[in-house]
Point group: C2
Chain length 258, copies 2
């Protein structure tokens, strides 16, 4: 996965605003500035990498910021580096020759990004929102994996989780109505923020445009819009702004998922 397209490389001097929670740590460290901030944000790990692995990669990791819409990696292009999503949402998609597009996965912080052990990307990766990535060159990470089975095991766990999610989504794509697809999408986003609770109120921002939602659900934007309006009319969702969503009762939403 080549994630260099459109990169703004960040150094300790211009990080203000990115890493609010841990900014005070940034200038006082032996391990790479940007990955220490990762650690602060994600319980001692930069995504899948723990402190000692970060140390091993010290010279190689690099934090980069991309704005929404940037293409991070292109289908069928060489994989040159891997990354961890540290902030924001990355969409993975595939396109047919005539331009029809399907989003095949969403990656949230602190997911690992990139098709391991492959010369070519199987999908296109694009920043759905503004995104911060902790980037690692492909050979460096693969060397570390080869000598560190525990790391490969963690990556295996994420891969298995992604496979579960992909299969869950295949049911939605193949067998659900437009209305159920929208409900499933909202439910998925809502529970992703707080996987534990499955009932009660939830307020959040949609990380995707209507067009992205359509590409994710195999629908047109008109159908997405109409079905959202229908769910709003039924008081299943309250749309407080074009992307601000409030779910008064997650249980009621779940009943609409088919």
């Amino acid at each position: 996965m080549d994630i260099r397209a459109g990169i703004t490389e960040l150094d300790p001097g211009n990080l203000s605003g990115i890493m609010d929670a841990s900014r005070k740590d940034i200038h006082n460290s032996d391990i790479p500035v940007l990955c220490q901030s990762c650690e602060a944000r994600h319980k001692g790990m930069c995504g899948v990498l723990n402190s000692s692995e970060l140390l091993a990669l010290a010279r190689s990791t690099r934090m980069v910021r991309h704005e929404a819409g940037t293409e991070l990696a292109a289908e069928a292009m060489p994989v040159e580096s891997y990354a961890n999503v540290m902030r924001g949402v990355v969409k993975l998609s595939k396109v047919l020759e005539d331009g029809r597009q399907q989003i095949v996965g969403l990656q949230f912080a602190p997911d690992f990004l990139g098709r391991l052990f492959s010369k070519e990307n199987a999908v296109t990766a694009e920043a759905a929102s503004d995104v911060d990535l902790c980037r690692v060159p492909k050979p460096a990470l693969e060397r570390l994996i080869a000598e560190n089975p525990a790391l490969e095991h963690r990556l295996m766990q994420q891969t298995l989780r992604e496979l579960d999610e992909a299969r869950e989504w295949m049911v939605t794509l193949g067998r659900k109505t437009a209305s159920e697809k929208i409900a499933s999408f909202l439910y998925m986003i809502a529970t992703h923020l707080d996987p534990a609770a499955t009932v009660g109120r939830r307020v959040f921002d949609l990380p995707l445009t209507r067009s992205d939602i359509a590409d994710f659900l195999g629908l047109t934007i008109e159908t997405v819009s109409r079905q959202l309006s229908k769910l709003r009319a039924e008081r299943i969702v309250v749309i407080t702004g074009i992307r601000h969503i409030e779910i008064p009762d997650l249980g009621a939403l779940k009943k609409r998922c088919g």
Copy 2:
């Protein structure tokens, strides 16, 4: 994955007809009879397991045969064992509460079968054809994986491949027409047998019923039947028997895949 349902356990005495290619080896071995036959069939490996790993599991592996239609593992039930598909096709599916079904994967020999490291199955596994499995109890295999990073790496490679396939299929489910879905399905089956060539003649048997194909493609059986008839009328496929398929020109079929 509990694969014990409906099992006929096989011993060396009643293997005739199953392992034709390697039957003569069956009675002259120190390693388990049935997995030696696996080896003969799959270049020294029983699916993902190589000879020394088989030796380490000698007491645990067991070859079993299931007839078409047998449920091998049920969604949301405890995983009790893993397996390798040694012959036949296994379909992985998920169902909605109201009975709508979606096939989310197909496993051919010599694929590994079972959701690693999980207490529960994420999918239902069912024998699409008569199937032979080389079964391993969950704890035994997990112990072996823990002390054998190379094995985990091989399983990782299969998992990554399955994820690629699932994402490829999401495009088909979400964005292709019924006609393109059928063409894509036939193309996928045809190339699965011989991944190298992408043009020319191909003759094979469909491993699935019309109903299974419909569940795989997110269609009804009527639509599957109609679109197959349409492709037949256009001489893209020749249907020589209800399951016997001949593709005169794989290139022409590929053009119909969207």
